[in-house]
Symmetry: C2
Amino acid sequence: MPDAPRFSKGLDDVVVGRSSITWVGGETGDLVYRGFDVRDLVPGVPYESVVHLLLYGEPPSADPSREVGRELAARRDAPAPVERVVDALPAGLPPLEALRTILSALGDGSFGYPPTLEEGFGLIARTPTLLARYVRRSRGAAPIPPRPDLGHAANFLWMLHGDAPEPRRVAALEGYLDLLADHGMNASTFALRIAISTQSDLASAATAALATLKGPVHGGAPSRVSDMLDAIGSPDRAAGWIADRLARKEVLYGFGHRAYKTEDPRAVVLHRIAREVAQPDRLRLAEEVERAALEALHRAKPGARLYTNVEYYSAVVLEAVGLPRELFTPTFAVARTAGWTAHAREQAADNRLIRPDVEYVGPSKGRPWPRPLVGH
Amino acid sequence: MPDAPRFSKGLDDVVVGRSSITWVGGETGDLVYRGFDVRDLVPGVPYESVVHLLLYGEPPSADPSREVGRELAARRDAPAPVERVVDALPAGLPPLEALRTILSALGDGSFGYPPTLEEGFGLIARTPTLLARYVRRSRGAAPIPPRPDLGHAANFLWMLHGDAPEPRRVAALEGYLDLLADHGMNASTFALRIAISTQSDLASAATAALATLKGPVHGGAPSRVSDMLDAIGSPDRAAGWIADRLARKEVLYGFGHRAYKTEDPRAVVLHRIAREVAQPDRLRLAEEVERAALEALHRAKPGARLYTNVEYYSAVVLEAVGLPRELFTPTFAVARTAGWTAHAREQAADNRLIRPDVEYVGPSKGRPWPRPLVGH
């Protein structure tokens, strides 16, 4: 006999399937890709090797993965008709809005069902290159062609800025991309899997994922951490600014996460990367704001398990990498195309339409239309 | 104490929230908008009045709704920068692929959170006009400006074809749009609500919905009903063709639905509309194929509750309206923009991030990376 329906508005207590890609240990503070603890991978493992691990399930035989490096480098140029759509985007459009249309434009009729590895490599390779193309044109600058001698992270910076990227910035971005490459079943990945569950294609599903990641509750807020740090300005103002903000019942960005009831391992590793790459003043400010915020939050809610989340040191790291704030969430998406591809393929491999029920609480059937109708 | 997590791959037995928009009575064959049985609304209620009912919860004071008619007519022209993106789409792109990028391009940075009625009217008004613009340009023809004297359904046909649409075709399309305007919590509406649950915007959420509707298991198959009817060709070949097909274990399009365990009321009303508008030969073929298919399906699976679904007579009706097959699913989306707007606003009114869990079944934590890493 089937169980009675479960009512669950946020689906917190619903397990929507099995996955062998990523383990998010919310109680223990673990993030594990295919059995590998991200703390053991970052810094050091190139993004191409993380893509290899996520897509094939096993580490490559060399770092960076030769197969993935070759597949991605070969696909950096997008078809000309896709570039024409990207070039038609209005210059003032925020890059996160532009990226949704870029991902949709990638769906040029060549993507099918089930999603293939080749389609995934195309998505992963072209998301940063088309984003960089848009950003350049949006600034009135010419797009910069990809450099086949550069890895994925370095090439993204090259195509944005057009000068040889500093190795420590490349390493910091690489660590960021590794850490954000997947995170199990979050809202955007869930939207992607729902799209694939109707036998839609990977370009469509990635567009749905980006449309979901775009919300500030999910991926759209790291730039607000930078804005907050700017507003505070110096370490000695941190405690007062935070107390004011909490007194006005306003949110502090960069703290708390639905999954983690302890330290988010990504936040820990990103803090370590920030110590390597951030300007000393900015780092000191960020650390003092973090300390003051956690103290104030714990005083306001004693016993609450509130920790620094991934957004906080993401902002500090991406600033230090030299990315403008409006590229923070798009760069999150650049990282996540790897996880999206892995989840789309996993969903398709054992597919079932995802279609929950809803409880209807509106007026009962039988209301009469107030006027006679033609044709009745 | 919280309940133990529920494992549910397709979420069939999970109720994801409450809604007062649409009741889908799968056991009784009911489809009810805000208390009004669709069988009492179609034919006769103009699409503007159904939009009014879905968005405001009450019928308008006149038909067609004056408020909605005015709001939609005023928004048919899209901003020029959005039109430029649409005009950059490659001519050979299937309209369903194009529509995903069109919806994304509508997100020009002006959509916020929570979604507003005005944003909804813009989405509903511009989806058909930009789709028609794309279709015209794709055929090498000039776009046709909207006609403010025409209602929503008639204006869509006008902008596609450029001649005064026949009233019985307009009426048939209007009935189709009414019947497809909402359907509770299906996969595309669920994807939309997940996007809104992250506080993303309506243009993004509608793009996610279309990306999900695109899958043939959800919205992408009505044209295959037409293809099937063509392949059968004449009523006397129906039984044999179907027997062959079932013997090869191939699917018959247009039968069975996850929600309905009895007749789909939309199929019943669309069949009635088809009798009014379809060519007699085509209607006879469709009816004979339906009869033979149901007989064969019930013989193959005695006792199975398999009925004609909405796709079957959708195809016959949309053919008779004069729409090419590649516009069937896009026209489904044109209708559904009303329901998407209603659901987006309902989700935002009492919002909670939708984020299920997943059971990790991959390798255990602790696998060592096979090579030493730089930086460790």
